[in-house]
Symmetry: C2
Subunit: 371 residues, 2 copies
């Protein structure tokens, strides 16, 4: 794709986002004109209306809907705020600007109607999520930037990022320092140009990411190493999904061996309850868990800590979670409750600094058919 | 400096670090040989032995010392652990490897003497700090990597980073994406080649960092924008200091207007109690605070939150803190207690998205003589 084509595509997306937003305002207008009380219908956004789509393997909203109607002062105020926000977003897209959720909250102080100003950031955050759902356009396409930034990538991948200062071609090994390539807030500004990768390895902790890079694992095994940095930002999850879908690369996730890390895997693979309307955009249901498995604690005799009460509760709630209802997870979680132990990724260092790259990952990835 | 010279310098530093470590072990050996009970003397590392060096403008250790002697089982065990750690570090330097503090803790499980194994990570962390103090060599020069990674840089700066895969020349505007240049764990692997910068602007939050980059502030004002990301990592503070000392650039710090952010400024400018032995290496006493000042809350009529009890306590303790004993800070902190308000950086958005770059920063930096 040439530079001009690429920019046209991005530009069309922005126009599409703008159109979808203005359509929403138009709907209110039409309702007024027809003498109806304006209203907006949304899927009910509570935990009880989240269902696991077995076929797609991700979380989505169920069938229940709620209606925001102007037939009460409270409802009318919500719609007023929505209209002001739509106007701001449409203008932002028109000027090719962007802003953060926090800035939107503060910006509302400058709006001429005091009734339209947000009283808390929760309110403006939720409105943006509502607009995402109603318009089917993601926050990133409205040019709303997240506060949390994406993590970093190291591997045999050549990409082109559209920045506000022109396009940048970056090879994620040859053109970056030891710290790697920093994922931008909106990874859809990235085009993948070329790669020699065999798979994508998402890594929870910075210490382990640095270990893999120091040991040259990305170069020796043709792996794109994506640092998750704990619970991954939307940008990190989106990039991971695109690496899978567009480059047809298997994705494996490497975390600590405790229930909180299984949730990190879950948010990469199945999506989160908070962003269930975006599962198709963010989740990679084909992602697989490489470890640390409770089985690894036993097999590799890793240094461990005992499970705390909250670890046990979290494991028990995962046993009830449809996302973890597979044979693999049931076995592993029951084993963990049984041995009453957890272990960190870096515990592999107890067998030497090269153990993870020379022994553990090759063995596990071999078993999984990735290597 | 040519590539070869640069590499020789780095190599010499490693040899120097190795020599300093082995000297410590030699000292124990000499003590044994002379029939003395081996011991190691350290500055007492408690809050009461931290003094503010008025001349250097940074925190340093006072005159009190503690002695670790092998005349008790507990003391002997400490020295044994130190000797094992020295051996590991010397070998690591010899092989040009590196490791994290967490890995060191786990690695000790593979040591042949069970008495030498660490019982907690606090213990191994403290030992490394002890070795830093005794040897006068920083952890980074032992090749101990931090868990926390450095933040990112955007600005008119061309640098060369020595990586394990060869040198990389990177311009921190032209060769990076919107996310900027990722600071490596050890920023002393960076050589500054060229720059068109007028000053360094350290920014607390990711949202504000992204705002400045989107508005092109780094390009328009020839600023090197360093993202602190909350309490800055050692790598970020070290790089900031080097930008000041080697490029002779003024450093200004831009944070939220609350007591916790003043502490972030303090750690950049004066050093922290935890790393008082490294203040000369990490702190930039010439750094100045651009805002948000309590005075700005008044002057710019910013959206605010009331102070919480813990905010008030933190402000009162800052009034007693020698680092904040200047006229500037006394006035500002007393004003803040008086108006009972705090404001975030992003609150400037209440006057529009360009207010910070078109009005606020130019005004403040003008007053400070930076612009």
């Amino acid at each position: 794709m040439s530079d001009t084509q690429q920019q046209n595509t991005a530009r069309l997306d922005e126009e599409e986002a703008r159109r979808q937003l203005l359509e929403l305002a138009e709907e209110f207008y039409d309702q007024f004109e027809a003498g109806d009380i304006p209203e907006m219908t949304l899927p009910t956004r509570t935990k009880s209306n989240i269902v696991f789509d077995e076929e797609a393997g991700v979380w989505v909203y169920g069938d229940r809907t709620s209606t925001r109607s102007a037939n009460s002062v409270r409802g009318a105020r919500k719609l007023l705020k929505a209209v002001y926000a739509v106007e701001f977003l449409a203008q932002q897209l028109d000027e090719d600007r962007s802003s953060t959720l926090r800035e939107l909250y503060y910006l509302s102080e400058s709006w001429d109607s005091e009734e339209a100003q947000f009283t808390s950031q929760d309110e403006s955050n939720q409105l943006i999520e509502d607009l995402e759902i109603v318009s089917g356009v993601t926050r990133e396409d409205f040019h709303m930037r997240p506060e949390e930034s994406g993590a970093k990538v190291m591997g045999p991948l050549l990409l082109r990022e559209q920045t506000r200062r022109g396009d940048r071609e970056i090879h994620c090994q040859d053109d970056v320092g030891q710290g790697g390539y920093q994922i931008p807030n909106n990874p859809d500004t990235i085009e993948f140009l070329d790669n020699d990768a065999e798979f994508v390895l998402c890594v929870e902790t910075g210490g382990m990411r640095d270990r893999l890079v120091e040991n040259g694992f990305d170069a020796d095994r043709d792996a794109i190493v994506v640092h998750l940095g704990g619970q991954p930002a939307r940008a990190t999850r989106r990039l991971t999904k695109r690496l899978h879908d567009e480059l047809d690369l298997p994705v494996v996730v490497f975390c600590d061996g405790d229930p909180w890390s299984y949730r990190i895997f879950g948010s990469v693979a199945y999506g989160s309850i908070k962003s269930a309307h975006l599962s198709e955009y963010l989740a990679t249901p084909e992602a697989r868990y490489v470890g640390i498995r409770p089985q690894d604690i036993v097999d590799y005799d890793l240094p461990t800590d005992p499970l705390s009460d909250s670890d046990v509760n979290a494991l028990e709630s995962e046993l009830e979670d449809p996302r973890f209802k597979s044979e693999f997870w049931t076995e592993q979680i029951e084993l963990q409750l049984d041995i009453d132990k957890k272990a960190e990724q870096q515990a592999l260092a107890s067998q030497g600094l090269d153990f993870v790259t020379d022994t553990y990952l090759p063995e596990r990835l071999g078993e999984m058919g990735v290597l």
